[in-house]
Amino acid sequence: MTDPASNSTAFPPRAPVPAGVAATSWSRACAVWGALLVLAALALLLGPLVGSTRLDLARAFGFGVAPDEVNIDAVVFWSARFPRAMFGFLAGGSLAIAGATYQALLRNDLAEPFTLGVAGGASVGALLALNFLPLHIAFWVSPVLAFAVGGLAVAVIYGLTRMRGPRSAPATLILAGVTMNFLFGAAILLIQYISDPYQTMAIVRWLMGGLDIMSWRVCVAAAVLLVLAGGVLVAHARALNLLALGDMTAHHLGVSVERTRVVTLTASSLLAAFVVAYAGPVGFVGLMVPHVLRRVVGADHRVLLPATVLAGGSFLVVCDAGARALLAPGELPVGILTAFLGAPFFLWLLFRKG
């Protein structure tokens, strides 16, 4: 400890900050975001080139195309592949930032929409809409029902952690999530059972998770939601930092714990439910991306949350391209690929030391 005789007037004491010491600042944040933005641009431009029809990126942008020539490359790129990549980017970004938020609020890095049962609940909600409502209504109602049932899962999980006290084991939470998934799985089976065979096939395909929604309207809706709900989460990044240390600590340091929790859980569950409603339950993106990023850019949510959007988006676009390449000229639903990647990752997290 310092000498009691030293400078006793200034309190709290100030000490010089050495130049060049890494700290969370705009410059560091922008460096991280800039690098990930380049990555995202590359994924969005190169990802769409993968597929059954070979495309030339230059021609897609109109270079080297004769005036009277039909530009097949541009048509395929802009009307099919790029919207799909864009939706994949928005979906991956939404899932990743939702996962990072759940992890901070529950102080559990195994938490994410899929493992908590949020994706399962959202699936039930979306299927209810898609099976029992006329399609043109269901198309826009399914995210609402997805949020309602998915939000129920969050509320149950969250209530359990509160009942078990602050030091409930991480595995307890995941067991609760698995149980919720059993429950929702049974509900999905029930819906399938009472559906006609054609619908059942559609449900099975949807449950594999896929990005083959080539609608700009869904893309725009996803982008608006990501900007709004993601904006809310980023605005609460500092409060999330404090909540990650513990509810009581956050309270002591000036956070309105209940209000912050309701706002951030709602925003993250909205994002997760929207993605599930259109892409199906794509798992583990919200688990892997925040975990890897925390190791690279640190734990500060002010930097981390925007970074998870960029990295999660790029990751899902690359996964989707990979899924198309693996079974070319057919394609593999991207949810199957993320599950094959994510499940071992999850086991590693579960069984690592400590």
């Binding site: 400890m1 000490a15 309270h251 000036g254």
Partner: protein, 273 residues
């Protein structure tokens, strides 16, 4: 024994920070943890709250921070009921060092201390300005953790971590410091360092200090006032060398103790074999 002990050396109303009136608390369906406790904490006070396990010490502290709401009675801070304060405004006045911290993410010591600046920063978006960072480094140096700034807190020893949390509370620039067993995991030398630092801040800055501890001797050495809590009620309050006698401690701790005198006159409590 006075029913409503007024404790502390400074008794001017303007210096009053906490005013606790007939506070009772019970968890739903359980017998009361605290019964009709009244006390006052003023600027310049150095109060130790001691008592056996289960006496209600930590509950008392959680009522002062607003984490728990009293079943009856009222906690006032600077004349206003705790519930009328915003969380942010309170966090600029009250620094807390609590027992358990659950964090699992790789925050560095400096990042954790900077979180103490939360209530002083604009509420939503933004990063820490140079002033915040200078304060973070200053308080880390004050608790003897110079050079630990970039170390992840998860990799620090229990004692180092506890001092990081003390530094964070100091970074809040509080008028009053509430501490729950701040030295329970520290070695003797660090126990002394922490209490010397608290004593010095109290003397030089008038920083009111309210420390919950099971360590009677540490409280007797450093606190100007000791409050003995037993079965949810204040059994005695006053200067340690006046109130810590064998009869009181025997009945509170349900054992037989011997009160000796240390070299500087402070009571030293030990059990009889």
């Amino acid at each position: 024994m006075p029913r409503t002990p007024t404790v502390g050396i400074v008794d001017a109303m303007s210096d009053a920070l906490f005013d606790i009136e007939r506070l009772s608390f019970a968890y739903p369906g359980r017998p009361p943890v605290l019964r009709d406790v009244s006390l006052r904490i003023a600027r310049g006070d150095f109060i130790g709250l001691i008592g056996p396990n289960g006496a209600g010490k930590s509950t008392m502290l959680n009522l002062l921070t607003g984490w728990l709401r009293p079943t009856s009675g009222i906690v006032r801070f600077r004349g206003r009921a705790l519930g009328e304060w915003s969380r942010r405004a309170l966090a600029r006045e009250i620094g807390v060092v609590a027992q358990a911290e659950e964090g699992i993410f790789p925050f560095t010591a400096e990042e954790v201390v900077l979180m103490g600046r939360y209530a002083h920063q604009p509420p939503l978006v933004g990063f820490d300005d140079p002033e915040d960072r200078a304060i973070a480094r200053g308080v880390l140096a004050l608790v003897g953790l110079e050079g630990f700034e970039q170390r992840p807190v998860g990799q620090l020893s229990g004692g180092e971590r506890q001092r990081v949390f003390l530094a964070r509370a100091l970074a809040q620039c509080p008028q009053v410091l509430l501490l729950d067993e701040p030295t329970s995991s520290l070695d003797l030398n660090y126990k002394r360092d922490v209490f010397r630092l608290l004593e010095r801040l109290n003397r030089e800055q008038g920083l009111a200090t309210f420390v919950v501890t099971h360590d009677v001797n540490l409280a007797a050495l450093y606190c100007r006032t000791v409050i003995v809590l037993h079965d949810g009620a204040i059994r005695a309050a006053g200067p340690p060398d006046e109130i810590l006698d064998e009869a009181l401690l025997d009945s509170v701790y349900r054992t037989t103790v011997e009160v000796l005198r240390g070299a500087d006159g402070a009571p030293v409590v030990t059990i009889r074999r």
